[in-house]
Symmetry: C2
Subunit: 218 residues, 2 copies
Amino acid sequence: MKLRPDNTRDRLIDTAMELFHSQGYQATGVAQILKKAEVNSGSLYYFFPTKEDLLLAVLEKYKLMLHPALLEPIWSRIDDPIEKVFGLLDGYRRLLMMTECNYGCPIGNLALEIGHSHAKARQLLADNFKGWRDAVHECLNAADDRLPSDVDRAQLASFVLTVMEGAVMQARTERSLKPFDDAVTQLRDYFDRLTADGTQWGAPAASELKPRTNTDKE
Amino acid sequence: MKLRPDNTRDRLIDTAMELFHSQGYQATGVAQILKKAEVNSGSLYYFFPTKEDLLLAVLEKYKLMLHPALLEPIWSRIDDPIEKVFGLLDGYRRLLMMTECNYGCPIGNLALEIGHSHAKARQLLADNFKGWRDAVHECLNAADDRLPSDVDRAQLASFVLTVMEGAVMQARTERSLKPFDDAVTQLRDYFDRLTADGTQWGAPAASELKPRTNTDKE
DNA sequence: CATGCAGTTGATTGATCGTTCAACTAAGCA
DNA sequence: TGCTTAGTTGAACGATCAATCAACTGCATG
């Protein structure tokens, strides 16, 4: 968690990660990165031939950070595999809340901005998505007996990512947590119906669709 | 559908709309717009004081086009209100397919790129989202008797938009229709469970989760 | 002390950015 | 005919962009 690495290369990556996240890739000038990281242009280009190479390094770091920085704190706090998934969603909610709905998912932001051309960057973005989906997929596998057997786990995991990204996008645009919370409530309802179908032998019951205070303490 | 309006102002808006959609706002230079629209810089700045004002005009046009250009062709083709919603999703699928997963939802793209600052633009993006959600909301109201009474229609409509935007984002990043189709399949399953619960008196049945050939002729 | 190399410096480059403006044209009207 | 006004022209502006590079520093090796 060191805020200012003595290593120039790492400091550039960390600074770029933050600026790309808050402003986007294009909107962040190399000069701004240099100033904030307190590095001279020559040093940057010693480590990274182009600005895009710096972006690639940032995306590589996101890949490396997925498990230790994003998942592990949640995984260790929550045992139930399905609640892990919703705990993960709550993590993004916290990020939105802390930044007044300004920061979203860094991967999602860059995905729509970089999407075209930049083949290597897009591949890394896809890798990051895959890591996220795989993590959710494992949770679903761990809850195998509670889900209907005919539900494709990988497909459902992808759906969770879809909902998360779409929810963050709407929340940022509306500058409100409501679209995010609404999406999570609907996803929760869907899971309730799936698990009711998966375990029981009778009626759906649907868990009454109570709002589920996603808001406070886990 | 005139491809080259004689009106300079409209030609600028149309050209900017296309370029902003395919490349993004920041990545599109004024010079590029001028060249493609065959307009001189002075004329552009006669109609639009800044580049951002041109963006606002583009977003206004999207608002105006929502019903006549996006919804109406689908609404007139499909009667069933719930199938209208999935017809709308299929429209975006067609766009992805036609452009080899390069073009996504223009509003969603700009939402993540412009999100910060640019207060007026963000409001217009929110307006566009609202128009979309309201259209789906009306469909759900029209299918009122088939949905469980305790399901919030507005919330469900917002969820559909969430799923659409997230699905398009993933499809563009993976350069594949699969994430999109997976999301639609899951959403379809959710609707099946909702309508089963809303109309029936007994078990869920869940419609077997058959893949639903979303692919070809409606 | 000498040599070599990893890393740093920052002024400078040419391209491109969004924007300006004085001069000009064409159409409408009196 | 002369005056007005909406619209057009395109060279030019300063700022900023990503990127360059010859000169330099500090340290480890022999």
